[in-house]
């Protein structure tokens, strides 16, 4: 097994490279993805090796990136679009929700738009406004789109390839604050053997409370679980990985065992993924629950100035506080 230690960003880069090698119809397009290799260098070196017909620097217009990719997909290509930052996706929102998401449905299944829309998302890097948002609920709410996110280099490497290989249009959210974190990546395991793209995974087993998280918050929850273990509480941490569809079976199975659940995400709580999970778990696990499903989230404000983002973002203390509250009922 050829495992290497890679950052999450490099794992994505390696996964994209594999996808370009595997399928000549895969193309990467976005702002600055070519010579620069993307502002986060996720496409570093790809244009050099695959040429500017496969890795395309686009004009600076997000709707154009997505809209032309729709046409390329109709033509038989598999575009992988990079949106430079979460807060810049909104000019493309119409194309994503009205065109990308609905094309298969509107055509009665005759057209597929096998597109991946990569978006670095979330905060924690001290950026200016529009560079730290968590827009996942907008996309997860849209029928016809699938939404996934990774939390570690191994998943980043595999999931980006799975997303590109899928005929479903997929919004692929990259936890930008975790780009530089390292982990072991098995580079040689065949994609066909990989863990399914739309399955959640228990990343730390436990018996007392289920923490449901995704993307950047998975590590926060793992740290919380480590801290809680010192107090004698065993927290189970589930990395949801897929936000649409949600792998609810995995959530139900865990919560029925633990009797308690806390959903953790950076996005604001109002009408967010946590609300959906809380409602579903309440419906399905009502008689197993020892307490209401709680949420630990960003606040219902625009993403704040960087100097206060540590207070905005869910951290270990807020997660542990919520865990404590689940024992208060």
């Amino acid at each position: 097994m050829a495992t290497e230690t890679l950052t999450l960003g490099k794992a994505l880069n390696t996964g994209l490279r594999r996808a370009l090698e595997t399928d000549p119809k895969v193309i990467i397009m976005g702002e600055d993805v070519g010579k620069l290799g993307g502002v986060f260098r996720i496409t570093d070196g790809l244009q050099k090796d695959f040429g500017d017909q496969r890795v395309i620097d686009t004009p600076l217009a997000e709707s154009g990136i997505i809209g032309t990719a729709v046409g390329l997909a109709i033509r038989g290509y598999r575009p992988v679009c990079e949106i430079q930052f979460d807060g810049f996706v909104y000019p493309a929102y119409d194309q994503i929700v009205s065109q990308v998401a609905k094309m298969h449905y509107r055509s009665g299944g005759r057209l597929s738009i096998p597109m991946v829309i990569r978006i670095p998302f979330g905060g924690g890097i001290g950026a200016v406004e529009h560079h730290s948002e968590s827009p996942e609920a907008y996309f997860a709410h849209t029928a016809g789109l699938k939404v996934v996110t990774c939390s570690n280099p191994q998943d980043a490497y595999v999931m980006i390839q799975q997303a590109i290989a899928s005929d479903d249009p997929i919004v692929f959210l990259e936890p930008k604050r975790r780009y530089w974190e390292k982990g072991q990546v098995d580079l040689d395991a065949p994609l066909s053997d990989a863990y399914p793209l739309h399955s959640a995974r228990v990343v730390r087993p436990g018996t007392d409370v289920t923490l449901l998280a995704y993307g950047p918050m998975v590590r926060t929850c793992l740290e919380a679980a480590t801290a809680a273990a010192e107090d004698g509480r065993e927290l189970e941490v589930i990395d949801l990985r897929s936000l649409s569809p949600l792998d609810l079976a995995a959530a139900y199975e865990s919560v029925k065992r633990t009797g308690r659940a806390v959903v953790v995400h950076e996005a604001p709580s109002n009408i967010g993924l946590g609300a959906e999970l809380a409602a579903r778990i309440t419906e399905e696990c009502f008689y197993s629950l020892e307490s209401p499903v709680l949420r630990v989230t960003g606040f219902d404000t625009p993403y704040p100035a960087a100097r206060v983002e540590e207070e905005y973002l869910p951290d270990l203390d807020r997660v542990l506080d919520a865990v404590d509250r689940t024992f208060g009922w």
């Binding site: 046409g71 997909a73 109709i74 009205s98 065109q99 298969h104 597929s112 699938k146 569809p245």
Partner: protein, 391 residues
């Protein structure tokens, strides 16, 4: 510089009154058939391109037949909406020449990206004219195969399809299908209102910098629902192309011959690697935007009358008669065919079955979704719970 162009001069409200039509409405048309039915041998575009057509008598008669048929089918659809059989209809009345002219200029391998009004182009692509009626009746979302007919689905969001056409055209280049007579091209249809949309302007940028084999075909029918052209632009629309770096031409959109000629030339240029171009087909929507609006609220009768004198069908008929290309028997036969086909269309629309409700869950995702499967199952059992349910 066009009349009324703001240029660089200092203006005040008093000093620079704009004509009622404004610069955007000045006609500088490529025309090969006058409203009186006189043939013009050739016409020159703003960049010096010469446009001419040379049809056989049979082809002339064919164009006339197309025009009459699409008008009749369109009228039938309008009637069906008025009788409650369609939820909505977007009539092409008045725009037949722009659509038939450009539609017949497409080669089999060219791909078209329409709005929701391109029934005439759809007809030219060989698609059963009942297809869009399913969409407007609400029994499906448009039932044809875009790849089989090289005619994409109707797009209702204004201008969104221009980007799809641009990407598709980029794909033509990437596939190496440019540069020869059997090369491919794409065409994007949109209206004057769409030129205000960001997507259309982004499509212009993309098509230009990637030299995409694409024709932007703008049917300037003078109104975006109720808003006149003056609310969209202060310069003639075809002139916008210059700012994006490709040629633009305004054609008499009520002249099927000129519409054909400029589109054929633009498509041939595109397929030979000369990049995109913009055609502004200067025409007029004789009816409402859709059956939901009332054009008497926003336009005056004399304007409509002036355009009636430019009718796209009358002038072809006058030409055919003058040149003795067609006789009364032919015109009667075309009318009878149109009547027959419209009756047939009506019968088929009335017998269109409603879809099975559970089919609403189909084709959301190519690979399906467990949540959707669950919802479908719940829906099915709910429907079955009704006494005497056929489900």
């Amino acid at each position: 510089m066009a009349k009324g162009d703001p240029g660089g001069t200092t203006r005040s409200r008093r000093a620079a009154p704009r004509s009622k039509k404004g610069a955007a409405g000045d006609p500088e048309l490529v025309q090969l058939l006058t409203p009186e039915g006189e043939r013009i041998d050739s016409a020159t575009g703003p960049d010096g391109t010469e446009y001419r057509v040379d049809f056989t008598d049979e082809e002339y008669r064919g164009l006339y037949r197309d025009l009459v048929l699409v008008r009749k089918l369109d009228a039938e659809a309008t009637a069906l909406q008025r009788q409650g059989e369609l939820g909505l209809w977007a009539s092409l009345l008045g725009q037949e020449a722009a659509q038939v002219g450009s539609g017949r200029a497409l080669r089999a391998q060219d791909m078209a990206f329409p709005t929701y009004r391109e029934h005439g182009v759809l007809y030219c692509r060989g698609i059963d004219p009942i297809m869009p009626l399913g969409l407007f009746r609400g029994v499906d979302q448009g039932g044809w195969d875009p790849n089989e007919f090289k005619f994409n689905m109707y797009t209702i969001v204004i201008g969104a399809q221009t980007l799809h056409a641009t990407g598709y055209a980029m794909g033509i280049t990437m596939d190496g299908k440019v540069g020869t007579d059997d090369g491919e091209a794409a065409i994007a249809y949109f209206g004057d209102g769409a030129t205000s949309q960001g997507d259309v302007n982004e499509a212009f940028v993309w098509a230009s910098v990637f030299n995409a084999p694409l024709v932007f075909f703008c049917q300037n029918n003078q109104y975006a629902i109720s808003e006149p052209l003056e609310r969209q632009t202060r310069v003639p629309l075809y002139q916008r192309a210059a700012g994006f770096g490709f040629p633009g031409v305004r054609v008499d959109g009520n002249d099927v011959l000129a519409s054909y000629a400029v589109t054929r030339t633009a498509l041939d240029n595109a397929r030979h690697g000369q990049g995109p171009s913009l055609i502004e087909a200067y025409t007029y929507r004789m009816g409402a935007h859709t059956t939901s609006d009332d054009p008497t609220r926003y336009r005056i009768a004399s304007e409509v009358e002036s355009w009636q004198a430019k009718d796209p069908i009358i002038r072809v008929r006058a030409f055919l008669e003058k040149q003795q290309i067609a006789d009364a028997t032919f015109f009667a036969e075309v009318d009878e065919q149109a009547r027959r086909e419209s009756v047939h269309l009506r019968e088929r629309v009335l017998s269109m079955p409603d879809p099975e409700p559970v089919t609403m869950f189909d084709n959301v995702y190519p690979n399906g979704s467990p949540l959707l499967d669950e919802q479908r199952a719940q829906f099915n059992s709910y429907m079955e719970s009704f006494e005497g349910s056929a489900h």
